[in-house]
């Protein structure tokens, strides 16, 4: 089966793949960071006292979760320019991925927060800690610890979703496979190599989560 498999072509295109691998890494990394920040903010809004903040966050989360990422991406890519907002493609892609995963992170973090016993929050209130301080020192460290696994799951989804950025002609791993396929008519080589690189990222994320989980579990000493 592998007889017709052309390793030489893969080798030849390796510089392109490495460049696109790096692009997928930083595009996903940036979006991941943005998504966690957006997730924390949206979650804080959703759990806040203010009805207005709660509904804004609710609408955001519901909208994102009930519409396809591709539609959201096209909205930013075609929609924003038609409204006079011009952004570079990579930024459009990062914004779409950030806002998309941010909604999921908001829900993941909320589940982690709601698993925390309310008594601890009362203890924080009783000792005079402000809402922000309770979030920062009591709730988030535990919520992030409780939710390493689902957070990692969402990070993996985000990396895979970043392949959609190939559709708005950003050079990243999937796009590299498309280039090789269209220039040399070798889809098997092209997309298998692409897949192999995604696998590398997957194992990197998994190793990171295993490491951080061990540290957090040690800290909680359960």
């Amino acid at each position: 089966m592998l007889e017709g498999f052309n390793f030489r072509i893969i080798w030849e295109y390796m510089p392109l793949y490495m460049q696109c691998f790096a692009a997928t890494l930083w595009l996903s990394g940036l979006s991941l960071f943005g998504a966690v920040v957006v997730g924390i903010i949206a979650c804080a809004m959703r759990l806040s006292q203010s009805r207005i903040l709660r509904s804004i966050a609710g609408v955001y989360i519901e909208t994102i979760r009930s519409t396809p990422l591709l539609a959201q991406l096209y909205f930013f890519y075609f929609g924003l320019p038609s409204m006079g907002i011009m952004l570079p493609e990579w930024l459009t892609g990062v914004i779409a991925l950030t806002l998309n995963s941010g909604a999921y992170y908001a829900e993941i973090i909320r589940a982690g927060i709601q698993a925390i016993d309310f008594g601890q929050i009362e203890a924080g209130i009783a000792s005079g800690l402000s809402y922000i301080q309770r979030m920062r020192f009591i709730i988030l460290p535990q919520a992030l610890g409780n939710t390493i696994r689902p957070m990692l799951g969402q990070a993996i989804i985000l990396v895979k979703d970043s392949s959609l950025l190939s559709l708005i002609s950003i050079m990243e791993l999937t796009r590299a496979g498309q280039v090789l396929t269209s220039e040399r008519f070798t889809p098997a080589e092209g997309f298998l190599t692409t897949a192999a690189f995604y696998l590398i990222i997957y194992y990197m994320l998994k190793a990171f989560s295993g490491w951080s989980e061990k540290r957090l579990i040690f800290r909680e000493a359960h």
Partner: protein, 242 residues
């Protein structure tokens, strides 16, 4: 130090605090008792506005807790609160549990806060458990960390809501010993508890509540030997036969 003037509170239809009048002087130890659901927890949770009151005046160390405009942070920093279920922060060591609020609320520097935290943990007999996490401590030890956490704020008042009810019998005395020492050192305290030995020994007065009202206020010996009301007698019988 704590002054309730005609304080009222409702949960919907339920009148949980019914015209409460009570003056607690500096250095007094008040034990609050009464049947389940009588409003004991609510009575002390109002003091640092864990529960807001709806009517009346509640003044704590000269500050008006009933006034919505009063900034509670300052009052809360002066009051240690010990819960039935300990409510320690599980991701922090015993020492970190005690120092977080002094650092963030009182504005102590790290060295000061840690020195004070160690001192208080030593005082409650946990000098050798400073770096343990709550999950590595017994219930009695956790509750003593919780008391040390309150004390590290250098509070003027300590409040206790059934601090020993969640503990196994053999651990109750270690927590009561700490509370007894505090009382003898002149701390102003209000404690919801049915530990009658503790009340007899250190309480200045016992407050007996039922259905949101204060039914009796008396020195412990008077209340335990000669309750003035039928409800008081009935309550004492029910806890003695328990």
């Amino acid at each position: 130090m704590i002054s309730y003037k005609n304080v009222n509170k409702w949960y919907g239809e339920l009148h949980v605090l019914n015209s409460i009048n009570l003056e607690v002087e500096k250095g007094e130890v008040i034990v609050v008792c009464g049947p389940s659901g009588s409003g004991k927890s609510t009575l002390i949770r109002c003091i640092n506005r864990l529960e807001p009151i709806q009517e009346g005046e509640l003044v704590v160390d000269g500050m008006a807790v009933h006034d919505k405009k009063t900034n509670m942070t300052k009052i809360r920093a002066e009051i240690g609160f010990v819960f039935q279920s300990f409510n320690l922060y599980p991701h922090m060591t015993a020492l970190e549990n005690t120092t977080i609020a002094p650092l963030k609320v009182r504005g102590f520097n790290k060295a000061e806060a840690e020195k004070l935290g160690r001192e208080m943990l030593t005082r409650v007999g946990l000098a050798d458990r400073i770096d343990h996490y709550p999950a590595q401590l017994s219930g009695g030890q956790q509750q003593r960390v919780a008391i040390a956490r309150g004390l590290t704020m250098k509070p003027k008042i300590m409040l206790f809501d059934e601090p020993t009810s969640a503990l196994d019998p053999e651990m109750i005395h270690e927590v009561l010993d700490v509370m007894r020492d505090l009382a003898k050192e002149g701390m102003t305290m209000m404690a919801v508890t049915h530990e009658m030995g503790f009340a007899r020994e250190v309480a200045s007065r016992v407050v007996f509540m039922d259905e949101g009202k204060i039914i009796e206020i008396a020195p412990p010996n008077d209340f335990f030997t000669n309750p003035q009301t039928d409800r008081g007698k009935y309550f004492l019988q029910s806890i003695l036969t328990h």
